[in-house]
Symmetry: D2
Subunit: 495 residues, 4 copies
Amino acid sequence: LRMASTGVNVAGLQKDKAYVGGKWVTAKSGKTFEVTNPANGKILGSVPDMDRSDAQAAIEVAYKTFQSWKTTLPKERSNILRRWFELCVKHKKELATLITLEMGKSFPESEGEIAYSSNFLEWYSEEARRIYGDVTPTPASNKRVMVIKQPVGVAAMITPWNFPSAMLTRKVGAALAAGCTVVAKPAEDTPFSALALCELAEQAGVPPGVFNVITSSRENASPIGKELCENPLVSKISFTGSSTVGKILLSQCASTVKRTSMELGGNAPFIVFDSADVDKAIQGLMFAKFRVTGQTCICANRILVQEGIYDKFVQALAKAIESQLKVGDGFEPGVTQGPLINARAVEKVEGLVNSSVSDGAKVIVGGSRKDGPGHFFNPTLLADVTTDMRVSTEEIFGPVAACIRFKTEEEAVTIANSTSYGLASYFYTSDISQSYRVSEALEFGMVGVNESAMTGPETTFGGWKESGLGSEGGKHGIDEYLQFKNVCYGIQPKP
Amino acid sequence: LRMASTGVNVAGLQKDKAYVGGKWVTAKSGKTFEVTNPANGKILGSVPDMDRSDAQAAIEVAYKTFQSWKTTLPKERSNILRRWFELCVKHKKELATLITLEMGKSFPESEGEIAYSSNFLEWYSEEARRIYGDVTPTPASNKRVMVIKQPVGVAAMITPWNFPSAMLTRKVGAALAAGCTVVAKPAEDTPFSALALCELAEQAGVPPGVFNVITSSRENASPIGKELCENPLVSKISFTGSSTVGKILLSQCASTVKRTSMELGGNAPFIVFDSADVDKAIQGLMFAKFRVTGQTCICANRILVQEGIYDKFVQALAKAIESQLKVGDGFEPGVTQGPLINARAVEKVEGLVNSSVSDGAKVIVGGSRKDGPGHFFNPTLLADVTTDMRVSTEEIFGPVAACIRFKTEEEAVTIANSTSYGLASYFYTSDISQSYRVSEALEFGMVGVNESAMTGPETTFGGWKESGLGSEGGKHGIDEYLQFKNVCYGIQPKP
Amino acid sequence: LRMASTGVNVAGLQKDKAYVGGKWVTAKSGKTFEVTNPANGKILGSVPDMDRSDAQAAIEVAYKTFQSWKTTLPKERSNILRRWFELCVKHKKELATLITLEMGKSFPESEGEIAYSSNFLEWYSEEARRIYGDVTPTPASNKRVMVIKQPVGVAAMITPWNFPSAMLTRKVGAALAAGCTVVAKPAEDTPFSALALCELAEQAGVPPGVFNVITSSRENASPIGKELCENPLVSKISFTGSSTVGKILLSQCASTVKRTSMELGGNAPFIVFDSADVDKAIQGLMFAKFRVTGQTCICANRILVQEGIYDKFVQALAKAIESQLKVGDGFEPGVTQGPLINARAVEKVEGLVNSSVSDGAKVIVGGSRKDGPGHFFNPTLLADVTTDMRVSTEEIFGPVAACIRFKTEEEAVTIANSTSYGLASYFYTSDISQSYRVSEALEFGMVGVNESAMTGPETTFGGWKESGLGSEGGKHGIDEYLQFKNVCYGIQPKP
Amino acid sequence: LRMASTGVNVAGLQKDKAYVGGKWVTAKSGKTFEVTNPANGKILGSVPDMDRSDAQAAIEVAYKTFQSWKTTLPKERSNILRRWFELCVKHKKELATLITLEMGKSFPESEGEIAYSSNFLEWYSEEARRIYGDVTPTPASNKRVMVIKQPVGVAAMITPWNFPSAMLTRKVGAALAAGCTVVAKPAEDTPFSALALCELAEQAGVPPGVFNVITSSRENASPIGKELCENPLVSKISFTGSSTVGKILLSQCASTVKRTSMELGGNAPFIVFDSADVDKAIQGLMFAKFRVTGQTCICANRILVQEGIYDKFVQALAKAIESQLKVGDGFEPGVTQGPLINARAVEKVEGLVNSSVSDGAKVIVGGSRKDGPGHFFNPTLLADVTTDMRVSTEEIFGPVAACIRFKTEEEAVTIANSTSYGLASYFYTSDISQSYRVSEALEFGMVGVNESAMTGPETTFGGWKESGLGSEGGKHGIDEYLQFKNVCYGIQPKP
């Protein structure tokens, strides 16, 4: 498979087998499933369609390997992660090509993802050496206490298709740095990016059995998820995906009291106050709304604009959409808006738009799918949106900007918080006091103040309410794979 | 109700109503249930038998109150908790009396619990002022990032009967310090201690609606638990109790992606190596095994003694049990072993002993229940216990010391870890290297090295594996009631 | 000595002896010196005029006591500090009366100081329990490393007259919490506040020899300082006072490589940008400039006003000065501006004003000393001040507001930083980006943004450049009295 | 200059000019001085003999460069340090050759130093990204407070000859990571290692003016030191060297209230208790005593052996010295003991040995200098040493093991602490309680328990008492180049 347009040869990194125990393996059943390019429907290849028994086998390998991996020195783990990082950087063109092929985002976006993705490996290679415990102040003259942090054990991961590389490294980097071993299951749409990471991990010296990737079709995803949740040899589940699936997994995790990290859905408000710099706000929104064609969990979902600038803002936004966005195959130069992931996704977005229009929203730009092959939807701007329309209450996950009008700060905050989601939020203002008030009042794990690009390895990424549990990245990300141990020595204080 | 033996008048603190929204309330149904003294079966009084609708009402009060409580200044919350602490110290005799009355532990133990319990309020009054966020190193010249910690919201708590005061303050202290409001449901056996805390909280200035306690019989416990888990207005559940119930609650929490802290069952190994100071080990074991008549989740459950000293150790232990322990009503001077909590408990312990004896264990001391009224079981020492006997695989929760023989360090660690529990563990050795090796290898959240008394406000208390999620006390306990918010400002780096 | 106006009897707290080794002692020489009230020149009493030999004796007591005090449990030290705090609160009226008597600030200000002062004892009673060490990630399989913090030893303190109580508790609280013992020498103008603290410390249970206060006249201050600096039994000097004296002490500390904390002079800029809320800025400035009659090291010294609002600002400031300030004896109701500390201080301020007027500054309000007894100077507003006038380059330490005009942000920052001092700074703006830019660019240890009241126990207080070394208060204040110890165990990783 | 024995060509890295502002420069005076090989007295080359005016010029460059360097992003500084690290690793043979040439340590030791030295650059490249500030809990509803850390400014460094590379990277790595610029002056014996680091820094992308190295002869060292201490453009001095020089520098730093880090002399006790594993203790001592021919500040100086094993221990030590050590040119295979640094050093060691023998010490092994060219001294074992002999009270800095007999733990601790030094200490025991008691009681910044190799980038290295101020390496090392800024925002809490 060689990309004509980019001239990048991905042959060495596109794998058609899963990776368990340091070996490239087929499903026990021998079954496979096909992966297609959402920009044109062409088949890219196939990978093993593993089932619950394959998951179980991978878990056993990971559990056995954990017994030795957990005692490696922090610096050894650091070195391995560093080499993995360097190999990802070296192969960034191939890795980016795989992303655009299997999930459609524009090639520059894919390159951006690989930079982002690799940075997690670098970050955690450094964090591995900084797992400090505490010496607790002595509670009694004959006691000495310390609290150390140790790896939780086997970490299972289920990752999504919208950032097929970064959502994996963000978890695996932390897990390996902490001393955990991993069984990961990528989304069925995007297995190639995960498998390519295995190849580079092996080259980097990740020992066999430390990082295992199992692939499956949509049909087997559920039983595999169940195995990962219920197998007592797994100590931790980290999942990024929909709230619906997240809740099922949480429920399955109960019987083994498993530690869980959940990065689930969002319904991000993007608030523009009258005092905002409108140009900056538009610029911020274009990124927050249309990156990856609107398919990220932190994409602006509800655009709240204060009445004093509402009309001006909508007008400027329409102009920006029309002049800055180009829909098409992600490899085509200039394209910013690749396809949606699949036909279901297009239908869903179309349904949301139609429903909202029925309920009174006005289409200012776009509003419909794009003809021809591939799962494309035209960038859309809806005005006169209200908070009860489906486009406001559901996660859009597509290129639809829905603008709501509000009057007061209090009203904006109330609307923003009126959701069970609590992932990302954004607001633009030029008032210092308001910047503190609103950032403190928003019930979201991330708040952008006059800024919409806020992710990266140093960022504490995590959702409030039903958007998730735990956090990834930043100073605290590695803690999700560690547990405390309180060690109390009894001593004789006098000779 | 006035205790003849101690001369303590508990009238002012023994409440017969629940406490919601700053008011003493009955169940909506008007029902009540009786509470009895396990030492003699006498009825101590009755309290409201609330149901799911009462729980819902309390949650709504707590949610509404949270909107203002969360914005109180840290120092205000600190002051209130401090006053509460001081009132508990002032009323320690009454509070201790209530404990011995409703759950039977010896009065000195009850006094110890009140000291322990109060200390959490003091600790968290101090922690309230130390909720530091981070200023994150700047990722780009036009961004400034901080990560702040904010209270999660309404925290629901379900607490056990074995430490009816301390298990509540350990949670409530942290929650209130963090800025959360609370709905707590104490065990049906021990509501009075919880209600007495409400009275003192009110005197201390805890505002109405911040700390709410609902009481119920065993029958209503399950629907109330369900409400606490499933109501979206509750953000956090903290439970201390059995692993069985914990798993049910976890499962119910899934649908609202609730944050959870679980302190569940244990099966603590107590390892004595050949090089140990046997006198110290015996002394440590007497506390680890027989405190609260063996009814704590960190009580030594499996006593592993290395073959070189096994016989000597068992002999010394028998002597210690016979000379140091006295069974009886907790108010009787000199009594160290109060009753078990109820008839079911006695039956369970008796069953475990009989089963083990059938399987070959030898009774060295005790072995049977004590005749007469009250739920008493005689302190028991079993030798020749093996790892497959029920007394080894189940949590005993009674005064039965079960001694297992082992040969090597590796064997001891393997046996110790061969359980799905991971709460407390203990070992005695005089070898420095072994002290590090074994404390690192034990898969338990707490390890006592030549020490068996290791709890207190400064201790990071929490279980591994199926013994729990999260931790209480110590430097990290308050984090269970906080969540991160990543705030990213976009700025213009040049004027 | 009984204050007629306040009706407060200070007899129990006004001591005429120094306090060493838990005893009230005279100077070895038997000499004493008199203390006077700066508001009227009346003699308040006399205290021992100790010399170098007395200092040496006190150091020896403190050193001997350190050997036991350092091993007290954190909680014991915490309890003692807490009781001391409570006694200060209980006696706040007496303590405040002593302050106004010996240094002149208005009685409400003195009450404020006692609240502020006591809060440090409370803060450090809590910090005492939170001296965490680190368990360092293992560098080799046969090593285990921890870094603990231990008290440095005897801490000597030299404290100023402008906050005779708070500048002492801020140091002593930290030192005692850390486990250090103390020899303190208060300013000769204000020994009574320090001695009153000794009385309460004793009542609180501070053991004999832990907190020692030696008093001396101006003449003996220098040899005593030398002894404190050069005696090898002293491990730490903490000084608050002038940069001139600070540099001498630093030089004397070199020969014993002593740890030092220095809180020295300031030359605080107070910048008002065109976009500022002028009312808020005036309000902030009135506090920053005129608190304690301008006699604090963080008082606004150079008032930089942007040209767009300069005239309006000066006008509003003149009005505020005239309407809000009242000069007089600190006990007189309504007085806000007590006397300066002594005649030298009045002369110095007068000289600065006259010199600046000669150089072209315009007197808008005040400008001269107040007739009659006592060391009073009228609140003064100077306009058309330039950066080279003495009032700009020297620390005024009096009620003189000197307004300078500037054009650009860059110019304001350059002027502000053009001093060897780096303690406090203030600026007012309504521009978010500017708030970050300027707060980051100012070379000062403290920056108030639209705020001028920023001290308290939680504040990290410390100067940059020649304004000091180390910091007091806040999360890090106790570290000044602690030192790291890296402990590395060699172990055998395998049995 | 090409090393025949190792075949390493150092031509590209051996520089004969100083490095200032990114340029290779001569002294303004044009003077130079010669550097010789201590193993044979041959001249290795010459470098500029700079004077105070050169220092001043370098400071000005560094100060100017600081204005831009301080605002570089943490990640940029991290990347540069990483590249520097990688270049050092790449050129380790050349760098090690330079060390052995200019200061004589054995080539394997030099290779070890380069690994050690490079690791600091790696460590600080990672630390650069982890300079977290604090968001302080809100003290009032209208205030928001954060404490950020900013670089102190120009850091001057004076480094010793015994680790000509590592003592520099340990400081420069931290300084550059923090955002400081540097002026460094290496010891006159070993300028080449420092200049080689400049070459690699330039290749790594360290911008001109960020890292400046000035060289001087012994005669100019003093005036240059004075300039570095007194120039107000320098904010920080970090010195590693003798206590004598350290005290002079400290005194000179007073007039500008400069921040200082001092790593000065030591007089390390090495205690062997009766219960110790003698083989391990001997092994540990051979490293602690004879590494770098006894010329490190953490070398064991006083060997305290408990009476029960004293004779056995001395005998075993004699055997180890005779069988394991080989004196000679550091390039010669098998050599472990290179020359001392110069003739003065040999004379000093000889004097200490002779004086102690006169006072009653017994020579068991060695005792004299080695004949022939080069500054060699034979490895020496002295028994019957007492605490008052010069060999006990002075820092030996040579290959002389002085064994003292003691009876009790208390006695050993008292002897160990009876020195004004407090750098490293070591003890061997098999008693857990004793290991805690003694490690806590020793007044030294570093304690090895059954371990004598305890340095590395993760180690908190620093002395107590007159052995120094501040610490290097580890979690806290970067703090020496940072200062706190407390930023307090005033806000309106309600809209």
